[in-house]
Symmetry: C2
Subunit: 404 residues, 2 copies
């Protein structure tokens, strides 16, 4: 029997205990032995909970118990999760976490400690919820050099954009609906401003290139400026507006960003709707891959954590190598990235057409029956150059990157 302890008995933590209980027998078979939850660390008590007798309030009870070989960290946030996880690893306990902030910030260091101690630090659930993506990145794509990762990495914003698109509603009313349904937090900033997706693309990019990508370096733009009128134009184009976390390798430069983007039906992520996540990966040998599933939610996320626990159990005293060095990966300046842009200008065609052509050359005009506006899609243009030209035009109502 192998003893596990869970740090944080919130949504994901209680999901982990539920998955371990529901599938106890099949998990024991796959792990080679029974997995027992010995302690659950939380500040709260849980009277009436079937596992209430396992709840402890002092982290040291877990840290100092040599019978606890695997620790699950589902507290979220960097403090005190970082201190707890580091202490567990240094004490020779493998750690499995769903904590994207922790992994994005301290992944390289924690991986190095696990290696030194011949144990494992796993974090499948930190990106894409239940979707297997971290382990495929580490163990399945080693014949390839990664050219692009583009992911719908946040279920809340994908739900909002899908609902705006299908029902023609504006951002604020859909956000309220999402909050009422529990899909969005009362303080929705981390989701709608793209900060959550930013941590996740930082993790995926670090794994793709084996070096530390600092999420603070990633250009991040949320969905709060997307309006129902933008959606109307997208629908007229047969396109969907999604928010992507993406990184692309162009020559020796690696660009990363989080931003809304228009994609059409040719893109493998076009049909990824509602709270689902999808991650597109392009390798120089394998070509296009896509991974799809539930990017959040109690049981899907817990399923990924438990899969990590089983892997940790199968390799209790052997570090499974992965490359994520502490050296910083210098991202290229986003201003140099080339991109098509969808642009809306105030004023009609007569007022704008000549000005636009003299600024951008021939463009693709977009008609969606919106009065007193002129909308178009540019050719590929450098981000920095676009920003200058847009300022020069002076009457830009909105602009969205286009990926077709």
């Amino acid at each position: 029997m192998l003893n596990v302890s869970v740090l944080g008995y919130g949504t994901v933590g209680s999901g982990v205990v539920e998955v371990l209980t529901t599938n106890k027998e099949s998990i024991a078979k796959k792990a080679g032995q029974e997995i027992n939850v010995k302690y659950i660390l939380d500040l709260r008590d849980f009277p009436g909970d079937p596992h209430e007798d396992k709840v402890v309030h002092d982290f040291n009870v877990i840290l100092n118990d040599e019978d606890v070989q695997i620790v699950v960290e589902t507290m979220g946030g960097v403090k005190p999760a970082y201190d707890f996880v580091k202490a567990c690893l240094e004490a020779g306990k493998s750690v499995c976490t769903s904590n994207k902030e922790l992994v994005a910030k301290h992944g390289a260091e924690l991986i190095a400690i696990a290696k030194e101690k011949s144990i494992n630090f796993f974090f499948e659930a930190s990106v894409g919820g239940g979707i297997p993506i971290i382990r495929p990145m580490i163990n399945c794509l080693n014949g390839d050099e990664i050219e692009e990762i583009s992911g719908i990495l946040n279920g809340t914003t994908n739900y909002i954009l899908t609902k705006m698109s299908k029902e023609g509603l504006d951002f604020d009313s859909v956000l309220k609906d999402a909050q009422d349904k529990g899909y969005a937090e009362r303080n929705p900033e981390a989701d709608v401003e793209g900060y959550d997706a930013c941590r996740k693309i930082a993790i995926l990019t670090s794994l793709a290139y084996g070096k530390q990508v600092d999420f603070e370096d990633i250009y991040t733009e949320g969905i709060t400026k997307i309006t129902d009128v933008d959606i109307k134009y997208a629908n007229a184009l047969g396109a969907a507006i999604k928010i992507f976390g993406s990184s692309k390798k162009v020559g020796n430069d690696i660009y990363a960003k989080v931003a809304p983007v228009m994609i059409n039906g040719e893109h493998p992520l076009y049909s990824v709707n509602d709270v689902f996540n999808g991650i597109f990966v392009k390798g120089n040998m394998v070509g296009d891959l896509m991974f799809y599933g539930s990017g959040a939610g109690k049981l899907p996320t817990a399923s990924a954590v438990v899969a990590d626990v089983v892997e940790a159990a199968k390799s209790l005293n052997a570090n499974l190598p992965m490359i994520w060095e502490n050296d910083k990966l210098q991202l290229a300046d986003i201003k140099e990235a080339k991109q098509r842009f969808f642009v809306r200008l105030s004023g009609n065609a007569a007022e704008n057409a000549a000005k636009v052509e003299s600024t951008f050359g021939k463009v693709q005009v977009v008609e969606a029956g919106v009065e007193n506006e002129y909308a178009f899609i540019t050719d590929q243009v450098k981000e920095g150059e676009f920003a200058q030209k847009a300022e020069q035009l002076g009457n830009v109502v909105s602009r969205i990157r286009v990926d077709f």
Copy 2:
């Protein structure tokens, strides 16, 4: 430096050498050491090939060379691949193969030998070409009990069905086009009769339940009876006809089959077109997952083989456990499986409506402007019961399973 040898220098085998050469540096970093191709076994010579000096005709040169630690098997077929692979494993060499016939037939035995010898037998490329699906099944879904696997597992038939659907062409002319393009073999039987997909779903089902699924036990129906008129009805329904290899767990029964099926836009595999493959997996905790990519082709398939080589290099003297026992998994009788059916009858509505209602009860009538036919979709009905009733009707022109 680690020495690899390749058995079979055909499409996939030469692709493996190409991937190892093209991405030599990044592969060395990930594998922890340089990977060198020492021998290539083939009956033919390859004058002018950059690797011609590595070609040998005698398998024993490879078997008896203790410097060869990993063997890649890309010959295809059971004989002599089985003898060669078994001999390599018994000699302590890890083996990575793309050979679905070999894995479906002898997977359990070869996995057991690798375990006994503390080496590895890997076969990521045997299903889904370049798509990571075998390793996710083994290492990422262990928190779940698998309830369903449904895969578009054969690129040739998906190309044919996509082209029939988009261009309204009949089966024979599209098959000829596919043969001219090299997407279909001159003898297309293994693809169009579903035999290839059958091996692949046998492998996935064996891994899902940890026991041997004999492909001979799987009900297999190809696409040769699908006509342009069937496609016309599918289009009228907003549905696509795909050929699925699938297995489903209903209570304690596991049903497996290969057959054409109608799916609609709600299904994650609806947009998987042309030569692409997609595999849908449903777990009792994680819910719906989908994996998408190139299911065949030289470099995508080779990419998966090389990823296996890197994993084998990272764990040279340690067996990474997987559960696929030799015990046979008894599949449930397909006659007991419940299913909706799309049915076309000769004769018009006036002649058929009453007869159909008395046989199947209320049905969903399907209109596609086809003269002198009556088409409908049944409710859920057991396969065996449907077959009896269809025979009773006496005028069935075609029937296709419906998955919505």
